[in-house]
Symmetry: C2
Subunit: 203 residues, 2 copies
Amino acid sequence: MYLPADFEQTDATQIAALILAAPLATLVSHAGDALRADHIPLIMTKTKLIGHIAHANDLHRKLEDGAAVLAIFSGANAYITPNSYPSKADTHEVVPTWNYEVAHVHGTIMFHHDRKAKLGAVGLLTKMMETRTNGGDAWRMSDAPADYLNDKLDGIVGFEILIMQVLAKSKLSQNKSDADRLGAAHTLGDHPIAGRMQNLHSK
Amino acid sequence: MYLPADFEQTDATQIAALILAAPLATLVSHAGDALRADHIPLIMTKTKLIGHIAHANDLHRKLEDGAAVLAIFSGANAYITPNSYPSKADTHEVVPTWNYEVAHVHGTIMFHHDRKAKLGAVGLLTKMMETRTNGGDAWRMSDAPADYLNDKLDGIVGFEILIMQVLAKSKLSQNKSDADRLGAAHTLGDHPIAGRMQNLHSK
């Protein structure tokens, strides 16, 4: 990814927060000479991304263990109009841009077909999302009948991605003056990226 | 992409609407044996995607004209808790899932370094986004000083992607009963994907 120094996000805490907030990854691979992307929620640990796919998804047949993949996590994005920069009135030397935040996790994939790994993968994701969504009323896998759950586990394949490199970009008008950055954030109103632009010190 | 029949989106009008609503594409390529993705707003015509990048972005040096690329456009996405299905109370045979809408445009890229093509690429995008954002107060490229604009044009490279295949997925609980689909939509409240789930006939 094109990653100018102004926009490189190197704060591991912020990168982890972006991934936690937007777990549905775009999982990019190069399978049999074709570019491919699947959309899969992933959980990140210090060394790995953990996920699962339907057994009917041929990804686990197209990719060999150890194949390179790229998992992309996307935060908010917004068009920035030149009209929102106070400096426009002074010089008119302004053009549009697009702000966004993304994290790119490069790694190698390994699929798991054993019940324990599959249960672990769905268990982690379920616990995280149910706690977030339902708090004390979280749905638990044990709420489903055992036979039904076993059938569901038979229908999936687990996988881990060993993390090789993490690159992240927070394009939040850091290359602008404080006044222009804050003006652009103000114009966006309650857009989720506006707060990110406001709370960041310009570089 | 894994694309079960229930979730395949074949309505060209709906695909075009998704792309118009979320122009910031994830542009995936395979450059020098490495997977890569850049985040670039694109405009779709009947046969092409049109965009531009910074000249400093080495994408135009890494990819030869005619290289295969995949542009991914992403609509809304949401975690679906089993608690939101009315059928949970009857059978408990429910598990979590994730709903989302995406469009994948496969094609071949060609870069343009001439001023006319670059002006065309930024002009199309500016007109679309400024009309949408500012209506009658749309910023125009001619609002900027000519020398400044020429410098800016020198700093970009235009490109077109000749469309070879479009695949789209609208995963909106079509594989559920109407009651469960609408229950899940209701639980999501004013989330942007809820309306999409409500207004779709279950297959």
